[in-house]
């Protein structure tokens, strides 16, 4: 699916920045957002006052004008938001590209900030008298004890094993390989929450079951922190002090059988073992003019291990049902598909997909702590269930 109006590499990510990742930041989400944004702007060599665009996630507690105030922005000419939570970051970068290409802004900060551990934790259900209504459809889920993302993905994981003829032990082997690859990479990333905390396959299998068939180490790390990137034209990027990473492609998709509501209604989609990422895939690769086989390094949204298996299939890295058979060696820096090289959500931090964008940039810059030698095509996803988005970043050579 080629797209004549998309211009690969017209815009670049020129700066990246993040806060520390922790279980208790002790700071407001606005402070975290400002710290990450200022770090990204410093990386780009751009005065924060020159920012004229901000894109946020629609679940973020920080508004664009509040961040603009914090950055000392002179005149904010564009702000927008794209997608809830984890499906947002790549789409948010895409919205920054759209704004720059349309002439609505020249210098756009894209950020995600949250106290995901010390603040309001997703899934902790309040004791209201009645739940649901107003298009939330929670009344069909919460009263039945379906109350967290982990429970939702556990239902999908069991169905995945069934549809692909995998035993639950076979599924666990595949899920464990994802968890182990992420942990091994985090062990060499000083910014990761699981830096130097090693894990064996026996450790993985011995971890307690939270929502069968998903174990503790199938779950990501609820985290406090923020991450940000700066987007401008590639032409202008050449005059900046920082290192530019051209955005070769960006795509969003929802696919067949969209359901209303937030996450849980996705259990009513025609398939729960293929996600909106399948719809985004041909658009993404078509715009970049590449295929999955050209990808040198992949940052795949991993709120749970099962989401990685399903996306690797949806994006065409392996045939449906085959992701669980990927050997763990294939996912390391020297392997066939270096995966989640910062440690990802499972072992670095859960910044709702934005930390994956940063690591995707580092890989083509050659600055990752788990650097893939000569990486030129860097793939980043932001994920389901409500919708998906993804990026292809290229080396500026």
């Amino acid at each position: 699916m080629s797209d004549a109006t998309w211009k690969p590499g017209a815009c670049s990510i020129v700066g990246i920045g993040a806060t520390d990742f922790s279980k208790a930041s002790g700071r407001s989400p606005l402070t975290l957002a400002a710290q990450a944004s200022r770090a990204a702007l410093a990386d780009a060599g751009i005065d924060p006052r020159q920012v004229d665009g901000i894109v946020r996630c629609d679940m973020d507690l920080v508004s664009a004008p509040a961040l603009a105030d914090s950055l000392g922005v002179a005149d904010l000419t564009y702000w927008g938001e794209a997608g809830p939570g984890g499906s947002g970051p790549a789409a948010m970068v895409g919205q920054a590209v759209a704004a720059v290409q349309a002439g609505l802004a020249t210098t756009v900060v894209v950020f995600r900030s949250l106290n995901g551990r010390s603040g309001n934790r997703y899934g902790l259900v309040g004791e209201r008298g009645a739940t649901g209504g107003d298009g939330s459809y929670e009344e069909f889920f919460l009263p039945y004890g379906m109350q967290t993302a982990g429970q939702f993905f556990a239902v999908a994981a069991r169905r995945y094993a069934h549809e692909h003829g995998l035993s639950i032990d076979g599924l666990a082997h595949g899920l464990g390989s994802i968890a182990l690859a992420s942990r091994a990479h985090a062990n060499r990333n000083p910014d990761a929450q699981f830096f130097q905390r090693t894990m064996t396959r026996d450790d993985y299998l011995a971890s307690r079951m939270l929502a069968d068939p998903l174990r503790l180490f199938d779950f990501c790390l609820e985290s406090d922190g923020a991450a940000a990137v700066v987007v401008t034209t590639t032409e202008r990027a050449r005059d900046l002090a920082g290192s530019a990473v051209p955005i070769l492609s960006v795509a969003q998709g929802t696919g067949h059988g969209v359901q209303p509501g937030q996450m849980f209604p996705a259990l009513l989609r025609p398939s729960i073992t293929s996600w909106p990422s399948a719809a985004a895939a041909p658009t993404l690769f078509g715009r970049a003019g590449i295929s999955a086989g050209d990808v040198d390094v992949a940052q795949v949204y991993d709120c749970f291990t099962i989401t990685v298996l399903i996306q690797l299939e949806d994006y065409g890295f392996v045939a449906p049902g085959q992701a669980a058979h990927l050997a763990e060696s294939d996912l390391s820096v020297g392997g066939l598909l270096p995966l989640n090289t910062s440690g990802g959500h499972l072992s670095e931090a859960y910044i709702h997909g934005m930390n994956h964008v940063l690591e995707g940039v580092r890989q083509v810059r050659g600055t990752s702590t788990n650097q893939v030698e000569g990486a030129e095509i860097s793939f980043v996803t932001s994920a389901p269930p409500p919708g998906a988005s993804a990026l292809v970043l290229g080396a500026d050579r």
């Binding site: 209201r128 739940t131 889920f141 039945y144 239902v155 169905r159 939270l210």
Partner: protein, 142 residues
């Protein structure tokens, strides 16, 4: 951390889109919203039909049987009124193949995807929740 005093989460029963589902349950029936024009089943129930665009809709009563689509055994306590372990089942309706409903079963029942399931109606205060359990085996019925 199970709190026997904690109230279970109850559904709103007066929502414009979904209220009739729970009203039907109170009568001991499973009801699914159907498009008044093209007759497609609309679940989750909404006011207009995504297929034909109509804003006319009705409800139809469906049989209380289904097949098990998938499930999870919840082992980690989240809400105080839902003691673990419990099992959340996702059931595909025999009379409405595009419709799946949830049910909750105490403990860790032996289950198999594709097995027949039977609806029953749980009374919690003023609210009736359609629930699901495995259909009794032939041996038990004999």
């Amino acid at each position: 951390m199970t709190d026997p005093q904690a109230a279970p989460l109850l559904p709103v029963t007066d929502d414009v889109d979904t209220g009739e589902f729970f009203a039907a349950a109170a009568r001991g029936e499973l009801a699914i919203r159907v498009c008044g024009e093209c007759r497609v089943d609309l679940h989750l129930p909404r006011e207009n039909c995504p297929r034909c665009g109509a804003f006319t809709r009705e409800w139809r009563t469906v049989g209380p049987t289904g097949t098990l689509y998938s499930w999870t055994v919840v082992e980690h306590q989240v809400h105080p009124a839902y003691p673990v372990p419990y099992t959340v089942v996702l059931v595909e309706l025999d009379d409405a193949k595009d419709v799946r409903l949830l049910g909750r079963i105490d403990g860790r029942p032996a289950l198999e995807i594709g097995q027949p399931m039977q609806a029953w109606f749980e009374q919690i205060g003023d609210v009736t929740l359609p629930q699901w359990r495995p259909t009794s085996s032939q041996e038990e019925n004999a």
